[in-house]
């Protein structure tokens, strides 16, 4: 580089540089090359690496892994947990039931119409067993559709006077699959806070926006609908694609009362919200023919977008169904998870349901008149109050006042139940998963009225309950 200094004019500098480049020794060039590369590297590399500093060494990682102690898979359950030791029923759970070795009159099973022990139903199931065996060995899509399923769907649709019905192989899965088939993320569901657990799970699976309204409080529902309306005006583009639904039960499992359907229909058209109706308890119970709450109120069934019910109560079989217009129901055949991805209903259970439906259709009055006996006989027990409509066949007996804690209340009610059970009346407490329920109902004794119970038996149950309450609560 010394040669550069000898340069005379600016224009020569470049020429001389090139010349010097040629003349310089090889080691010099290599050294300079390395220096230049070094500078470039320094320019482009960061002064320090954030990443490297926080990175754990392999040893530290191993230590962390070594240290980590998970919780046990399940916490131990105390031996005296109120739900651990089940009542064991020997033989069929019919009108006369043997619970824990003791013969009782059944006031606990939802066998409203007494079809569980019906000979006709049994022989229909037997015939089906002979022809089809037990299982279906496949989902509906893959050779799990039997002619009996199609027949049952047709019969249910006809019975309910709707266009189409779809059956599921499990009652719980019916509404729990139906809701997420329509309501997706971003959609809005207005739901009664007393809604049963299956509805709650369906809503959770749908990942929709859930708005709870106070039980059977139409003013509260309308308040929420209005709120949503003003929300929609702010963002009409979003509102145009946000589906909305109201989900209610015909006869509430948790409260024993019915939904005010006529008002709900008014709100439906006013605010353009679709109605999904869960009728597991009201199907076969309400209305002159047992078609449920729509028949009870004399409402056009087409005003309800979707009706879901199980076949495990009145029909005394297993499974559930949804019915409504084909436009709506057919969608579940590809989108109802519990329908598409589960084995179909065993044919013998479908056959039993068909036969039960036949019996219901043939002479509804024999059942329904008997069913709506005055269940008020059960009322008037000091310390216990009846919750639910007088014509509801599934009532709750709650403590008039709590004895301090839920745990105490449950224990007291258990003693009442045990007292009755010892004297030949089978009852049960209504069971809930206390931590999972959205709005946990107070502890209660469930009283189920069926057509098979005679007036004397009802009176006996009432007097026994009075006695029990007397001895336990006072």
């Amino acid at each position: 580089m010394a040669a550069v200094a000898a340069g005379v004019g600016q224009q020569w500098v470049l020429v001389e540089m090139v010349q010097a480049f040629y003349e310089a020794p090889a080691y010099h060039l290599i050294l300079e090359g390395i220096l230049i590369l070094w500078i470039i590297r320094l320019l482009f590399s960061k002064t320090y690496k954030l990443q490297e500093r926080s990175d754990l060494t392999l040893k530290e990682k191993e230590e962390l892994i070594e240290e980590w102690q998970p919780e046990p898979l399940v916490p131990p359950v105390p031996k005296d947990h109120p739900a651990l030791n089940y009542n064991i029923v020997s033989g069929p759970p019919t009108h006369i039931i043997t619970v824990n070795g003791k013969e009782c009159i059944n006031f606990a099973s939802f066998n409203f119409l007494g079809l569980l022990n019906n000979e006709k139903v049994k022989s229909a199931a037997q015939a089906s067993l002979k022809k089809y065996g037990v299982g279906t060995c496949g989902p509906r899509g893959f050779y799990g559709t039997f002619d009996v399923h199609l027949e049952l769907e047709e019969r249910l649709a006809k019975f309910m006077r709707t266009e189409e019905a779809i059956i599921y192989s499990y009652g719980f899965a019916t509404i729990a699959s139906a809701i997420p088939a329509y309501s997706k993320r971003g959609d809005i569901v207005f739901v009664d806070e007393a809604a049963c657990f299956a509805i709650q799970k369906g809503l959770q699976a749908s990942r929709s926006n859930i708005k709870l309204f106070k039980h059977n409080d139409m003013a509260d529902l309308e308040r929420l609908l209005k709120e949503q309306e003003s929300e929609d005006q702010k963002n009409p583009r979003k509102a145009r694609v946000t589906r909305r639904f109201i989900v209610v039960e015909g006869l509430y499992m948790n409260t024993g009362d019915i939904c005010p359907l006529p008002e709900l229909i008014k709100l439906k058209y006013k605010y353009k919200v679709r109605i999904f109706l869960e009728e597991s308890l009201s199907f076969g119970v309400l209305g002159a023919h047992g078609r449920g709450i729509t028949e009870h109120f004399g409402i056009n069934i087409d005003d309800i977008d979707l009706i879901s019910a199980n076949m495990e109560n009145s029909l005394a079989s297993i499974g559930g169904f949804c019915c409504g217009r084909s436009f709506i129901i057919d969608h579940q055949r590809l989108s109802g998870q519990g329908y598409c991805f589960s084995a179909s209903l065993p044919p013998l259970l479908a056959a039993a349901a068909i036969e039960a439906l036949n019996i219901m259709e043939d002479n509804p009055e024999t059942f329904l008149l008997h069913l709506h006996k005055d269940s008020l006989r059960i009322s008037g027990i000091s310390g216990l109050k009846v919750v639910g409509e007088s014509f509801s066949p599934a009532l709750h007996l709650q403590l008039e006042e709590s004895w301090g804690s839920r745990e105490n209340d449950v224990k007291l009610l258990k003693r009442v139940v045990d007292y009755c059970m010892n004297s030949g009346i089978a009852l049960t407490q209504a069971r809930y998963l206390e931590k999972e329920e959205k709005c946990l109902p107070p502890p209660s004794i469930r009283v189920v009225i069926t057509v098979e119970q005679t007036e004397q038996e009802l009176d006996r149950a009432a007097s026994l309950l009075k006695e029990a309450a007397q001895s336990v609560l006072n």
Binding site: A83, G91, G135, H149, P346, Y432
Partner: protein, 552 residues
């Protein structure tokens, strides 16, 4: 598709080479304690596996993927064209419509949501939901149906197609049967109990029959206790939320069944997905989870649970259980194993993948399975330690809110299980398990020899045969039905878009003649529809099929 044989030959060496490479790699990595899960070829891992573990996932030639996409593209273009014609009234609209009174509601379905259903699925809809009118045994009767409006609606002709060979039902051990003697006890119990229960397990729905079944299931599986549920799907979706919750981590195989996915979602736990049966992917997730804790807060995870299936019903693959158990022990995670398809179907005495790998049932924390398949009934179970089952008795969603299992169905499970355990005084159950194994190996071997690409484990009775192109789905199933064979075909979205397939479920009740009829039909149809894509010839891996093991 010109000169396919040349393509085959051209790739043969390359593939063989690759296979050796993979084997070599896995040999090396094994020493480091990391197990290389390779997707293409079988890997036998000598340290953990007591017998060779061979699975195939051969990739089709590139041109197949290209034509598959072309097929979908053509279908989509025609779909748009026809949607356009329907919109302008040039084609009749058959779609059920919204009520007049509710036209101004927010549409229940987005138009694009149903595009695929309307324009692609509809064309081949006749291949699903085919109604049957007999027991789903090795052969069944189908109700003949025809369509007058290109699959929009079906009309029954009133005729039945008799004695169709059933390659679709999950009747692995042939317990879907109507033999009067076999069903004797079921008949008795049906007469005694009726069909329903009308109550939940916790209220008034625990029958002596359920207790009997639960004790038998626990004994069959060799565990302390078991609980049974009325529906297999719900066994997963209603019990996983009881076991894990917020602050827990679920590691789930990417191909897990919808019920497991739903259960995981409902639990509120964080879900991370690992590649199908890929142990490296699983180990990385496990390590990262423990080292970095929960996202953002970096709190430690409360517990980590791995969800896997025994046999994957769309791939025919068997879970790499020994490796998963060693990983789970190393990282103190819990293992939930869904044996829906594997219980009864694999293992020397039909006790599922645990037995298949010669492991102890205590190696798995939660053993889940269904009764729908091998037992020809309905429902599911969860089995394991007494603590676990006691906890479920008190906390399972199903025990509290769902009607309990139908008693005659419970009896069907009992009688099938007793038969399998030899408690009925015969060896019939064992024979069924052996027959299934024999049938499976025979059927798989023949398909390999014919040059089809089939997926999965050599011992898996679920046999997926790759069809790839959408047009072949319909053609295949229809032509098989013409030959009196009922098959299941599956396409997107149940499979990846390029991997449409037919799935056979081999049964112990299939006779050699039935299987040969099916194989002959497949051979013929494979040539006609050009389905023999495999670039292995039989000689390239004769070690997989020892004749001596097949013919005893």
């Amino acid at each position: 598709m010109a000169n396919p044989s040349a393509v085959c030959n051209g790739h043969l060496h390359h593939h063989h080479h690759q296979k050796q490479n993979n084997l070599l790699k896995s040999g090396i990595s094994k020493k480091n304690g990391i197990i290389k899960g390779t997707k293409k070829n079988g890997v036998s891992n000598g340290t953990l596996y007591k017998k060779p573990f061979i699975e195939h996932f051969e990739q089709a030639p590139m041109y197949v993927a290209v034509f598959t996409f072309v097929g979908f593209a053509v279908g989509t273009i025609f779909g748009y064209l026809r949607d356009f014609m329907r919109a302008w009234g040039l084609e009749k609209r058959n779609i059920a419509a919204e009520r007049e009174q509710q036209k101004d509601f927010v549409p229940l379905y987005q138009d694009f949501e149903n595009f695929y259903t309307r324009n692609l699925y509809l064309r081949i809809r006749d291949n699903w939901n085919r109604p049957i009118c007999s027991v789903p045994g090795p052969q069944f009767d189908l109700m003949e149906r025809v369509t007058d409006d290109y699959n929009w609606t079906f009309r029954f002709t009133g005729r039945t197609i008799k004695n169709v060979i059933n390659m679709g039902s999950y009747n692995y051990l042939g317990f879907a049967e109507t033999d009067v003697n076999a069903l004797k006890t079921v008949t008795i119990e049906l007469e005694k109990y009726g069909t329903g229960v009308c109550s939940t397990r916790q209220e008034m729905g625990t029958l002596d029959k359920h207790v009997e079944l639960e004790n038998l299931v626990a004994k069959f599986l060799g565990v302390e206790d078991a609980m049974v549920f009325g529906m297999g799907f719900a066994t997963n979706s209603m019990n996983i939320p009881a076991l894990v919750g917020k602050g827990c981590l679920i590691l789930s195989d990417e191909l897990n069944h919808t019920s497991l996915v739903l259960g995981a979602r409902l639990s509120g736990a964080t879900i991370r997905i690992f590649k199908h049966n890929n142990m490296q992917s699983l180990e990385k997730l496990l390590r990262d989870a423990i080292i970095y804790g929960q996202p953002r807060t970096h709190r430690k995870w409360r517990k980590i649970i791995i969800l896997v299936e025994g046999i994957y019903s769309m791939e025919g693959s068997i879970v790499r259980l020994p490796e998963i158990v060693s990983l789970k022990n190393k990282y103190k995670a819990y293992l939930y194993l869904d044996e829906a398809h594997s219980i009864g179907a694999v293992g020397a005495t039909g006790r599922g993948v645990v037995e298949y790998f010669g492991m102890s049932p205590n190696d798995v924390d939660v053993l889940m399975g269904t009764f729908t398949k091998s037992f020809g009934a309905a429902g599911g179970y969860i089995a394991g330690k007494k603590d676990l089952v006691d906890f479920l008795r008190t906390h399972s969603h199903s025990a509290v809110y769902a009607t309990s299992m139908c008693p005659p169905v419970a009896e069907q499970i009992i009688r099938a299980m007793r038969c399998l355990m030899g408690l009925d005084g015969t060896t019939q159950g064992l024979q069924r398990v052996r027959q299934l194994e024999k049938n499976t190996r025979y059927f798989r071997r023949k398909l390999h020899e014919m040059g089809f690409i089939i997926y999965g484990n050599d011992d898996s009775p679920v046999v997926p045969l790759l069809l790839y192109m959408p047009g072949k789905i319909g053609a295949f199933a229809r032509r098989m039905l013409e030959k009196n064979i009922g098959v299941v075909v599956v396409g997107f979205p149940a499979t990846p878009i390029t991997e449409s397939r037919a799935r056979f479920c081999v049964s112990a009740a299939h006779t050699r003649e039935m299987l040969d009829t099916v194989l002959n039909a497949l051979d013929e149809l494979g040539d006609f529809l050009h389905l023999k894509y495999s670039r292995y010839s039989k000689s390239s891996h004769p070690e997989l099929y020892e004749e001596s093991r097949l013919e005893d």
